[in-house]
Structure formats: C-alpha cells, structure tokens
Amino acid sequence: MPTNRSNQRIGLVLFTLYLLLYGGFVLLMAFDAEQLQVTGPGQVNMAVWSGFSLIVVALVLSLVYGWVCRSDGHAEAAGSTQAHDDAVSQGDGA
C-alpha cells in the first residue's frame, strides 16, 4: 500500500470536507435554489458568494495540505527511512 500513510489520511479528511461543501452547494442548487438569491455581504447574492467561496476554499485546503505534508519533501529527497518504516508497519491492512 502507499508509502506515506499520514499524508493519505490527511488528504482523505480534507477531500471529505470539500466533498461535503461541493455536494451541499450542488444539492442546494438542485432542490432549493431560492436560497442562492438571498443577498449576502456587499449586496452580492449568495450564488456568487458560494461559487467564489468554493474556489477559495479549494485553494485554502490545498495550502493546508501542502503545509501539513511539508516535512515529507525533505525526507523523501534524503531517501527517507521513515517511509520505509511506514511501509513495513502497514502490513496488508486495507
């Protein structure tokens, strides 16, 4: 299985978070589109705000991920032993 378990776990948590936001937006649009007509900050409606937010949140989550995984870059470049240990300790678990 993949060598860097912790990266993968963080990735999946962030992925789930974004999936909920994106899914929430799509479902809201499909079943209760009136909510998007509500005026938000700066007299701009929620349709525009939620679209912009989804883009900005995607960037923020990706930066969070990059920051959390930052140590991994140096380790790999040096031919990490940690990655090796991870691989050994993982066994066959799904």
């Binding site: 990735g11 994106y22 649009m29 998007l36 349709a47 989804l54 995607a58 990706s62």
Partner: protein, 662 residues
C-alpha cells in the same frame, strides 16, 4: 458578423507560433531517450509544472466556452468553472502522490503497478486513447472556430494549421517542450485575463440601446392591440399612429411562420420587411426588433432580408450585448469595485439574445435572433441555460441530469490522461503535490476571473449572436485592438498547448501501453521514441480529420462527453487500486471496459445526442436523461468490487507494491 483579418492579430499570431516552435527546437535537442520524450526526465521544476497544469487544463473549452456561456446565459457558465476546479481536489488529495509513486510514463503504469498484467495495460491504453481523442475533437473544432474570424481563413485551414503546428511541437521534443509551451501559455492567459478584468471594472457599465456599431434596437409597446393575427388591421393603425411606423403592413403568417411569436412588418416605400418578436410579459405586450439570418437552398445568405456583405459597412448582423437600464436611472456607472460590479448588475437590466431556427418548405432556413431583456438578479442566478433547466424544473429526471453533470465534472479531472501524465515530469511525490497546489492556485484564480470576463463580454456591445465561442476575444476587441490581438494569439496557443498534451498522452498509450507492454513488442529506447513520434503524427492527422468533420458540434458539449467517459472508465479502477487491497486484475479490466462502454453507449443513446448529432426527435432517446455520470461512475465501482470478489485467489498473486521501474 463580418470579420476582417486584423494585421496586428495576424502578426501577433505568427510571432507566438514562431516563438513556440523556436522554443521547441531549442529544448528538443536535449530529449533523446524515452524518459526524456514522455516524462521530460522527471526534471521539470514543480512551479513550472504547476503553471503547466493550468496550461494543459485551461483548454479552449475553459477559456472560450465558459466565457461565452456566461456572456449568453449568465451564472450557468460559472457552474462549469466551479465543477472543473473542484475536480482538482480529487486530483490533489487522492490521485497525485500515488500516481507519481506507482507509474513511470502513463496512467496504465500506475493502474498496473500491482499486477503486471497485459490485459490491464491493454484496456487502460485503449481508454486513454478514447478519452484523448474525444477531448481532441472539441479542441480542434475550437481552433477552426477561432481562425475563421480572426485570420479570415476557412474553418478547415484553421484546423490544419493548428494540427500541423502541434505535430511539429510534439515530434520535435516531446514532453520537455510541451511543458514549457504550457507554462508560457498558462502564465500569459492568467496575466492577460487579469488585465482584461481590471479594464472591465474601470470601464463600468453604460446604459445603451444597442451594440457597439450604434444601431439602436427598437421596442414598441405596451400595445393596445395584442393579437397581430386576428387584429392585423387595428395593429397596423396603432403602429402608424402611436409608434411612428407609417404605412406598416403586417405580412400574414404562412408556412414555418405560423404559430411563432414573430410578426413580420413591411414598412416604407420599398416595403422592406423587419421581423419583430412578440413579447407577452407581465408589463404588457411588446414588439421587439429582431435580427434574422436566412440561408436559402442555393446557399445564399441574407441578413435582415438583404444579401450579406463581405466588407465593413455592408449588411451584416449587428453586434449585441448592452445594459438597457442601470439602477436609479443612471446612464453610466464609472469605474466599479470587484463587489460593486455584481451589486450594480443585480439591479440593472441587460438585453440577452435568444434564437429560433425556422425550416421552410423550400429547404431554406431562417434563424431569428430576438432580444430578451433580463433582470440582472436573474443573470446572477443559475438555471437559464437549457442544460441547467433542472434547477427550476419540478421533474426529478431534470434534477438527476444536473447532479450527474456536476458529478462528472468533479470526477473527470483526475481521470484525464493528459493531466495524469504531468505527474511524471517532476522528480518526486513532494514535487507532484506542490505542483498540483500551484496548479489549483493558478486555475482557481483564472476561474474567479471568468465570471468578470463573461459578464464583461455580455455587456460589451461587441458580441456575435451566432457564435458564443468568440465572446472573450470580442470583449478584448471592445477595449482595444492590441488587447484583441494578444488575447486571440493566447487563445491559439491555448489550443496548441492542450492539443499537444493530448497527442503526447495518446502516443504514450500507443507506444508504451499497447505496443511495448500489451503486445509484448521488443523495442530499444530509441525505437520507442521513433514509434511514439510516428504515433503522434497519426493521432494528429486523425484529430485534424475529426476536427473538420465535427465542425458544427458545440465545443462544450463534446468536452462534457470526454469528462464523463474519463470519469466512468478511469476513476473507479484508479481509486480502488489505491485504496482496496482486494482489488484483482480481472476487477480492474472489467471496471475499465464496463465504465468506458456504458458511458459511451449512454451518451450515444441520449436526448442531447439525438437532437444535436443525429437530428432526431429528442423524445425518442433511449435513456431517461443525457448526462451518464451518476449511473456509469457507480457502475464502474460496482463492477470492480463484484468482479474482484468473484475472482479472489484466482490467477497469480498481486506483485508486491513497487515503483514501476522495478
């Protein structure tokens, strides 16, 4: 509209192409081995690779298609921006690092890393080839659409020009030069889009009566006589007395004109006929001036009843796109802030354009383009484009169709072969991750700009009612000719870049997956590169032919097709290989085959294809809604799980996890 080749645009284009080719020659000298040809030796800096992701991804469909859709239908086009960007989250969090770790040159490498199976290489190679070719068609069609008005060449010349240039780029140097071309193009696109956005905000909105050529579109009403068929005579009198149309005669509706919301009125001594749109709204009944384009059976083109001209000043369709009313009855807003832009538009009224095609008995057709004054608050809401009708529909199937499209956009990105191969051009997993983050930042920023660009184009007064794909370049034209030249040239390189990435992905699939691995042909490294170059030329020629054949098809429609097939065929097996240890070789093969064929079959049997491709009645379609993703993506996963469970313990044990080089 009549487009005259602008010397600046032509000059700019050839300078761009010249620079691109020069760069390719220069960099191409270094790439002699297969690792260099397919993966640029894994030596591309992560930042460059990240911007190159943007170059690969922001295709003609993203740049021209989304801007055009927003310009014609408002917010709906922006839904594509949101969906396309969301797809990168799947790419970063799920696919990026394992792809880099497991593969060498192609998507099939990563899929097959645990199994060493020829079958997997075969189906994954075929699916790469299928998706790439489907994605190539809209790019080539887009190239032709661009060249026609900008340089004054016919459509097929544009397709040939782009095809030949791309083949040259790919054959010369493979991934190294392709990557640098993408980097260049990605940066230029973002920089110039930013400049355009700033200029749109500085310009603000102006209330007008028509487009940039000064033609004011007339609106008559509210009318007292509201039944032009039964009250023709009374209406003629009212038109003369109240609305100043002296001697107006209503032409009785016959043939294709019967039961249409259009009234043909002949006026003046020469009795020239103008077609008016009968608009029955809450505020009363209005007649609004339309524009017509008639194609006679013998190939003549008539614009508003007159033979279409060939030079400026002769009869042509008027450019459109104007704000008809600003808040508080203002004429001009002056420069606007980035939020003020939306709050002002929300309270304004914009004239959008609809169209209706009438087919006459003698084989001629008339397309009537009519005004649709639309409240700004409506424009900034989803649901105006026919494809997003599910939002305001009570039908469950329409809603499922909408969900299905948004799902395909979400899942499609991480399954596109030309995006996946870009993970092999960097040195390690950390670089793969970092370049994806740079890609998300660049692409996300651009997608935020698309809403400004699209709405700016909508109100620019320069739109061509017959061609939404031209909206972004025409927006630039409304600001200045130099900007128009730059944006057009960038749009060309956009097509060049994406097409070269796709051709490279296909040639990798043919050489590496199908010939070397699935068929077991023994090739030296140099032979592999030579075969790959021949494959590039063949795929390039196929793309040219398809680009000419499919020139009538809508670009974004074809892109949606490619996304659905990619997501259905590739994503289930990619994800399950990474996360489910009981996945078997047979499961992967079955999932790719079922995902690919079911999504393709669904599309071929859908209402969209029936009406747009076959020209049949949409009601005869054999599947309940047009977008396959919501059915075929889960079907891919189910197939993989079912077949894997059924084949546990059969065949050779999976090869221990190791990089493909081993």
């Amino acid at each position: 509209m009549i487009y005259e080749a602008s010397p600046i645009a032509v000059g700019c284009f050839f300078v761009f192409v010249g620079l691109t080719l020069g760069l390719s020659f220069f960099l191409g000298r270094k790439a002699k081995s297969s690792a260099g040809y397919f993966a640029a030796h894994g030596q591309i800096p992560w930042f460059v690779n990240g911007v190159a992701f943007a170059g690969d991804y922001l295709s003609a469909a993203s740049f021209l298609g989304i801007c055009g859709m927003i310009a014609f239908y408002g917010y709906d086009g922006f839904l594509y921006s949101i969906g396309y960007l969301a797809g990168w989250i799947v790419a970063l969090f799920v696919v990026a690092e394992p792809m880099k770790r497991l593969g060498k040159f192609t998507f099939a490498d990563a899929l097959d890393a645990r199994f060493g199976s020829k079958g997997i290489k075969l189906v994954a190679g075929i699916s790469t080839l299928a998706v790439s070719i489907f994605y190539l068609i809209p790019q080539m069609v887009g190239a032709g659409v661009l060249v026609q008005p900008l340089l004054g060449f016919p459509h097929w010349v544009g397709v040939m020009l782009v095809g030949a240039t791309v083949i040259l780029i790919v054959v010369l140097a493979g991934m190294v030069s392709t990557t640098w071309v993408q980097f260049l193009k990605g940066s230029l696109l973002v920089v110039f889009s930013t400049i355009l956005t700033v200029l749109i905000l500085v310009r603000g909105f102006t209330a007008e009566e028509g487009g940039a050529d000064g033609h004011a579109f007339r609106t008559l009403g509210p009318l007292t006589n509201t039944e032009p068929v039964r009250q023709a005579e009374a209406l003629e009198k009212e038109l003369a007395s109240t609305w100043g149309l002296q001697g107006a005669t209503i032409t009785p509706a016959e043939g294709a004109w019967v039961d249409q919301p259009f009234v043909r009125i002949a006026t003046g001594t020469d009795k020239g006929t103008t077609v008016w749109h009968l608009d029955k709204g809450e505020a009363g009944v209005f007649l609004r001036e339309t524009q017509t384009l008639k194609k006679t059976a013998d190939g003549q083109v008539l614009v508003n009843g007159m033979p279409k001209g060939t030079k400026k000043g002769e009869p042509e369709l008027h450019p459109v796109g104007h704000v008809s009313r600003l808040p508080d009855g203002k004429d001009k807003t002056g420069s606007l802030g980035p939020l003020e832009f939306f709050s002002t538009l929300e309270e304004s009224e914009v004239v959008l354009w609809g169209n209706k095609k009438l087919v006459h008995e003698d084989g001629s057709t008339t397309t009537v383009y009519f005004q649709k004054p639309t409240a700004g608050s409506r424009i900034l809401q989803p649901g105006m484009h026919p494809r997003f009708q599910g939002i305001h529909s009570d039908k469950t199937l329409d809603k499922i169709d909408l969900l299905s499209l948004m799902l395909a956009l979400f899942c499609g990105t991480a399954s596109l072969p030309h995006i996946l191969i870009r993970y092999y051009t960097v040195k390690d997993e950390a670089s793969a991750r970092k370049s994806t983050i740079v890609g998300i930042a660049t692409i996300g920023f651009f997608y935020v700009l698309t809403l400004y660009l699209g709405l700016g184009a909508m109100t620019s007064g320069t739109l061509d009612v017959t061609n939404s794909n031209m909206s972004a370049p025409l927006l630039a034209f409304s600001i200045g000719e130099w900007l128009f030249a730059a944006i057009s040239a960038i749009a060309f390189t956009t097509v060049l870049g994406t097409v070269s990435g796709l051709i490279l992905a296909s040639s990798g699939a043919v050489t590496h997956d199908l010939m070397a691995n699935a068929m077991g042909m023994e090739m030296t490294d140099a032979q592999q590169v030579r075969v790959a170059k021949i494959a590039s030329v063949v795929v390039g020629l196929v793309a040219i032919v398809l680009g000419v054949l499919f020139q009538e098809l809508n670009v974004s429609y074809l892109v949606g097709w490619a996304f659905s097939v990619a997501a259905s065929a590739n994503l289930p097996s990619l994800v399950m290989c990474l996360f489910w240890s009981r996945t078997t070789r047979q499961g992967v093969i079955a999932a790719v085959v079922v995902g690919m064929t079911s999504s393709l079959a669904w599309i071929l049997l859908s209402a969209d294809t029936f009406s747009k491709v076959y020209g049949l009645d949409a009601d005869q379609a054999l599947v309940p809604f047009s977008q396959p993703g919501i059915v075929t993506i889960p079907l891919g996963f189910l197939t993989l799980v079912a077949v894997s469970l059924a084949t546990q313990g059969t065949g050779p044990a999976p090869v221990a996890e190791s990089p493909a080089e081993a």
